[in-house]
């Protein structure tokens, strides 16, 4: 797909208010999916987020994903990175000052908490304003899959993710969202063959979450120049 075509698809998928996902659901980003009850961020999550120290790694127990329960039900925890203290205390955006001394997934989310703009109300955004407010997002993945914002984000409470089952997940539980399609990867991830473990091979098993490595809107790892090559002369094979 060339750049122009990709650009067109991105425009259509992000800007158009009505799109069909692959399963044929009609999804509107300005309305909640039909039949889904509205959910507030639960008090436990809010309390946990408030207790997190900036710059400190904390964890949350992984809950079973939708279709898959994990090998041997082995316990593991998902790492939550809160923002480093030097990551900035506030950022001026238009007339609104966004506090980004972030919680939990905050280090990766530049405009968290979402309520700084959205303020718990229905997302009201003219097309142009989406591009303005979220111009750091490169919506490659939505374009590839025919998804729109509300395919994954709950329109009435943007701090929650919405799953195909109608359940809601917090941003910390993003792997439940990914698992809906990438169930093989999530199986490998939960078992330890995909992703990264932190803290060591022994003791408490803490792993990084999907979005710690993959930008959810553009998940592919970008190509780059590698570290310097070894100084080798070709002999028989590549000996020492």
């Amino acid at each position: 797909m060339n750049r122009a075509m990709r650009g067109a698809v991105i425009c259509v998928s992000v800007i158009a208010p009505v799109m069909g996902c692959r399963e044929g659901h009609q999804v509107r980003w300005d309305q909640p999916p039909p039949g889904v009850p509205l959910v507030q961020v639960d008090s436990a999550t809010a309390a946990r987020n408030a207790a997190l120290e900036p710059g400190v790694l904390s964890t949350v127990q992984a809950t079973p994903v939708l279709r898959w329960k994990g090998p041997d039900q082995r316990p593991f925890e998902v790492a939550l990175r809160s923002a480093a203290p030097e990551a900035g205390h506030s950022r001026t955006f238009g007339t609104i000052t966004l506090p980004i001394a972030l919680r939990t997934r905050g280090a990766g989310i530049s405009q968290y908490p979402c309520t700084s703009c959205h303020q718990g109300k229905k997302v009201v955004m003219a097309n142009q304003r989406i591009a303005d407010a979220h111009n750091n997002i490169r919506p490659v993945h939505p374009a590839q899959t025919g998804a729109v914002c509300s395919t994954c984000h709950l329109a009435d409470n943007v701090e929650l993710l919405t799953l195909m089952s109608g359940e809601h997940a917090t941003l910390d539980e993003g792997y439940r969202l990914c698992a809906q399609c990438h169930f093989r990867q999530v199986e490998s991830w939960a078992a330890g063959a995909h992703g990264k473990r932190l803290d060591g091979w022994q003791g408490r098993r803490v792993v990084m979450a999907c979005a710690d490595c993959h930008d959810p809107h553009s998940p592919a790892i970008q190509a780059r120049i590698p570290f310097r090559a070894p100084q080798l002369e070709r002999t028989r094979g590549y000996g020492p």
């Binding site: 330890g192 803290d199 091979w201 490595c213 190509a223 570290f227 310097r228 070894p230």
Partner: protein, 325 residues
């Protein structure tokens, strides 16, 4: 081995009186060295008595003590502690480095294994960079333990693969396969050593006593994976870049003329941490764990993934598996 673990012999009157003096080993050697220098001017150039400053004198005395140092596996606890103290003091005197050299033994019930995901590796060489910094590798000769081979899709052929690529990665139509020391269960490098300076530890790590190595390089010729590196010159590491967290069998300072290699970051992994390459990998292609723990990640990979090992026909039994998604 029973007499190896016996405590050092207490001083008696039979020792000619020298050992009865309140004198430690270092002082005794200085005493002997001084006597030698007084008696034989032929070696006076090496004598600590000729050192220009007290610091140089101490350095030379400590260097002399290396000649009486035992093989690491034959040292008593006290001798180990003494050796470590001497090495740490030498690092302080020579380069003003405050290093900590530990001698942590293998944990019981642990056998290290490594798995490398060839579907995930993108060839960024972040592992190589982390390895150089972690293991105090020679910056001048640009020693690298890890080698990442760029291979064309569909075939594993080390001879046609390119470990020296330097372009944007991943390249179209290629995959990346990393090699390092595989800590083989049947290591061909160990029996060929004429002095027993390299051996396999109970947790599977093949280690080298750098002070016992004579630099004959037989192990390098024996290794079918090109995993060992030789110090043709004294390794150079800028003092500010030295990793002070060291292990006697791992990343402590090497000297000219000894062989070194990857030890799965023995100073980290024996304390439950991950090797530096695993920690640095930006794609999660590297998995490390305990093969004896049925709940470990590596055991799940061995049970559930498609695997291969390099040059399996040689029966070296590497504890390093390649797998794909």
């Amino acid at each position: 081995m029973s007499d190896d673990s016996a405590p050092a012999r207490p001083a008696t009157a039979d020792d000619g009186g020298i050992l009865q003096k309140p004198m430690d080993r270092r002082g005794a050697l200085g005493f002997l060295a001084g006597g030698l220098a007084a008696g034989a001017s032929a070696i006076s150039a090496c004598s600590p008595l000729n050192a220009a400053t007290p610091k140089e004198r101490e350095i030379r005395l400590l260097e002399w003590e290396e000649f009486t140092q035992k093989h690491y596996r034959r040292m008593t606890e006290a001798e180990r502690a003494e050796t470590i103290e001497r090495l740490e003091r030498l690092a302080k005197l020579r380069d003003n480095e405050d290093v900590t050299i530990d001698t942590t033994d293998a944990q019981p019930g642990v056998l290290f294994g490594y798995a490398f995901n060839i579907s995930k590796c993108q060839g960024f060489r972040s592992c190589v960079e982390a390895c150089i910094n972690e293991n105090n590798l020679d910056r001048h000769a640009d020693t690298q333990y890890i080698r990442i081979f760029e291979m064309e899709d569909g075939v594993v052929d080390l001879d046609s693969a390119d470990p020296t690529y330097q372009h944007d990665v991943p390249a179209e139509g290629h995959f990346y396969l990393g090699t390092q020391c595989f800590q083989c269960a049947n290591p061909p490098c160990v029996p060929v050593c004429p002095v027993g300076a390299t051996w396999q530890e109970p947790d599977g790590i093949v280690v080298i006593d750098y002070d016992w190595c004579v630099g004959c390089r037989a192990c390098m010729a024996a290794c079918p994976y090109w995993a060992r590196r030789f110090n043709w010159d004294a390794p150079e590491v800028p003092p500010e870049e030295v990793n002070p967290n060291q292990h006697y069998l791992g990343n402590r300072a090497r000297h000219k003329g000894c062989v070194e290699k990857c030890t799965f970051c023995i100073h980290r992994t024996r304390k439950g941490r991950l090797p530096a390459c695993v920690e640095a990998c930006p794609t999660g292609a590297r998995v490390f764990g305990n093969l004896l723990d049925p709940n470990s990640e590596i055991r799940w990979i061995l049970a559930n993934k498609h695997l291969f090992r390099l040059k399996e026909e040689l029966a070296t039994e590497p504890r390093f598996w390649y797998f794909s998604d």
